[in-house]
């Protein structure tokens, strides 16, 4: 009888090769895949947006974003994903779908996206130059500040994009959530876009 393995593996398991890629010298771009996160989509039911907002505030201590923003709550990041809907990104099960059902039972429908999306973090001195090849969003610091978010497309692929907190050295961090089945395609496009700047590739279990 065939042997089955139910090990959870990243959709980028085969495509992602840790190390350097592209031009030599200092890496201009760092691509880090963040693995093993809890991701729940929360969508208000008809006429229940205000109730959903109240439930989010009670649960996370901060209001859910009403405009394209990523907001830091207690142990979770709340990321706008469309009108009257947002993602809850967290780790360790505290805000996984089973834990959130009760909180939103009266106001919203939940959908577990933990294994349906890949999370790629883009940073480095050439991060904006590389992303400019893929995205029509203006990522200039004065326009796309820390906490800014966008539901948009990269290379004809739907993504949720937001700017996380800057690194200790002041460099910006851009987070990209992409559908799992499109992740490998977008990953290769990202490698192509970043190759001329030199690329450092890693994966991590830490949410930025």
């Amino acid at each position: 009888m065939a042997e089955f393995s139910w090990d959870v593996r990243s959709p980028l398991d085969r495509a992602l090769a840790v190390g350097r890629y592209g031009a030599r010298g200092d890496a201009g771009v760092t691509l880090t895949e963040i693995r093993n996160f809890d991701l729940v989509q929360v969508m208000a039911r008809r006429g229940k947006a205000a109730e959903m907002a109240k439930a989010a505030k009670a649960r996370f201590g901060s209001a859910a974003p009403k405009t394209p923003q990523a907001v830091q709550g207690s142990d979770a990041t709340l990321i706008w994903s469309g009108p009257d809907q947002f993602f809850v990104l967290s780790k360790g099960g505290k805000h996984a779908i089973g834990a959130l059902g009760q909180a939103f039972a009266q106001s919203a429908s939940l959908s577990d996206q933990s294994h349906a999306r890949v999370l790629i973090s883009v940073s480095g001195v050439k991060a904006r130059a590389m992303l400019a090849k893929l995205s029509s969003i203006d990522l200039h610091s004065g326009v796309f500040a820390v906490g800014a978010a966008a539901a948009t497309s990269m290379d004809h692929t739907s993504v949720t994009l937001w700017r996380g907190n800057d690194l200790a050295d002041g460099l910006a961090v851009f987070n990209v959530l992409v559908f799992a089945t499109f992740a490998e395609s977008l990953w290769h496009t990202m490698l192509d876009s970043a190759a001329e700047y030199g690329l450092a590739i890693a994966h991590s279990e830490q949410l930025a």
């Binding site: 006429g47 948009t152 004809h156 739907s158």
Partner: protein
Amino acid sequence: MRIVCPFCGERELGEFTYLGDAKPVRPAAGAGADAVYDYVYLRDNIAGVMSENWYHGGGCRAWLKVTRNTLTHEISAIEPAAGAGAAKVGA
């Protein structure tokens, strides 16, 4: 062409899909065959200002009602289509 999504802001045309005329209204149940035929198949070919449905599928996935001049592509108004997000239709 760019469209200013009321939810996302200004975006390139590639993020949107065009559905067409926003004016036709589904006939009441029991309406005659002519009314249904008109609703399903017949469209005005407007050279000028027109009300259109657009879908922001490459972004927030909301339906929008766009008022556009088909001769100049000038957009004079954009609003969420009825029921966008969790809004109650007709509320």
